[in-house]
Point group: C2
Chain length 244, copies 2
């Protein structure tokens, strides 16, 4: 297998870069399919191309497969996800108001989050993005690891997968350190489940650019910061690209 | 212009997503060309598609154009870049050892950094990626802003531009706050100059996957974590895609 992959080029045609970026959604529901190692390699290779301060490359990836050796870490994440979601559900009133109205946006989000929390431990793959060799990393250390996480998510999308950046590890930090045998100077920064999506990628909901883009000084919103016409939702892999 | 862009779709064909990710370099030298507003809009739109914790969307972008109103902020960044580079140059011996050998890797890096520091204030565009409404952001807040920065850099590359994630703002923080009129709860997280590259995008130098990817437990390196054959360097915009 090692020799094979060393001679196997990355997939050559996937999805258009700009359209891929603007149609990459957080994917929280996965088909029950393992991810071939060739695709895993491509995703981790893409992730590792992220930049870092002075190119020090402090980012490490720990990939949980669906195997006995990953059992305890997966169990801990499942526990963490359910704890986080239950707390959030109560604090943000997901069971009341519009959250109690079937098929409202809030209700649908609650269904997705509930299902996500119940099934995260069975995700085809879960990637921990970590910083190594940094004591007590601060905000700016994030600049050396989260770009890699975004590469990971975009590369997943390019190959017909999807994932989501979570921080569930924070809920079970000490137990995870033991289960994963993490050295003292390694910090988990992101927990990223990945799999073949149930549902589709497509345009995402965000505030208008006129509210988030300033020009030259704070508070001056430029006339060019306007939304483009809706982007056509694009499926996975090559079809929609060659079909443009 | 506003009306025009609201009806103008994003560029439809740029670069392949996966190949774009793995060939996006830090670009520090720019041609003396302004960036059309249509392209700026596409980049900022792509950046704003990044995900954030609970989709709270705390990220804001402040875009410095080449105009009088941006003069003081640009001057401060130039000062910061030169200060940071001079310190680094001394601390890391860029003028000694292999750094003193013309055309060595270290010497070439020093030339690039020197030129970057001298010219950063004239970059066609400089984007500050900020967090708003977060008091004293920590590592994990970075998960809501640095993925957007990576989107910005990849979108730039998709349109034939290039940029680099820097943290020069840290050197002149208080003066920048005044020059930009930043509210008290806004934190600059990244300073990203962008322009038409002198030089090319292409494969980047990173540690081997066998050193950075672990499987199931820390220290176990999977057999599939091997480099692919070299990726062909790709130029900008559509040509290299349709030419594949």
């Amino acid at each position: 297998m090692t020799t094979d992959l060393a001679c196997t080029p990355l997939p050559a045609i996937t999805v258009d870069l700009l359209l891929g970026i603007v149609t990459t959604r957080a994917i929280r529901r996965y088909k029950d399919e393992d991810i071939p190692e060739e695709d895993l390699r491509a995703m981790l290779f893409a992730a590792s191309r992220g930049s870092s301060g002075s190119n020090r490359q402090p980012t490490r990836f720990l990939v949980l497969r669906r195997t006995e050796a990953a059992g305890e870490a997966r169990r801990l994440l499942g526990l963490a996800a359910r704890t986080v979601w239950e707390r959030k559900s109560v604090n943000e009133g997901y069971g009341t108001g519009s959250g109690a109205v079937p098929s409202s946006r809030k209700w649908r989000m609650a269904q997705t989050m509930q299902m996500f929390a119940e099934n995260i431990d069975r995700s085809p793959v879960i990637v921990f993005a970590c910083l190594a060799g940094v004591q007590a990393p601060d905000l700016h250390h994030g600049a050396s690891v989260y770009p890699a996480v975004q590469n990971l998510l975009l590369a997943a999308r390019s190959l017909g997968y999807g994932g989501v950046l979570t921080t569930f590890h924070r809920e079970v930090q000490d137990d995870l350190v033991r289960a994963l045998n993490l050295p003292q100077d390694v910090t988990i920064c992101a927990t990223v489940p990945i799999g073949r999506p149930m549902g589709n990628h497509g345009p995402v909901r965000r505030m208008p650019l006129s509210a988030t883009v300033h020009e030259n000084v704070w508070g001056a919103h430029p006339s060019w910061a306007v939304e483009p016409p809706p982007v056509r939702a694009a499926g996975a892999r090559s079809a929609e690209f060659t079909g443009e």
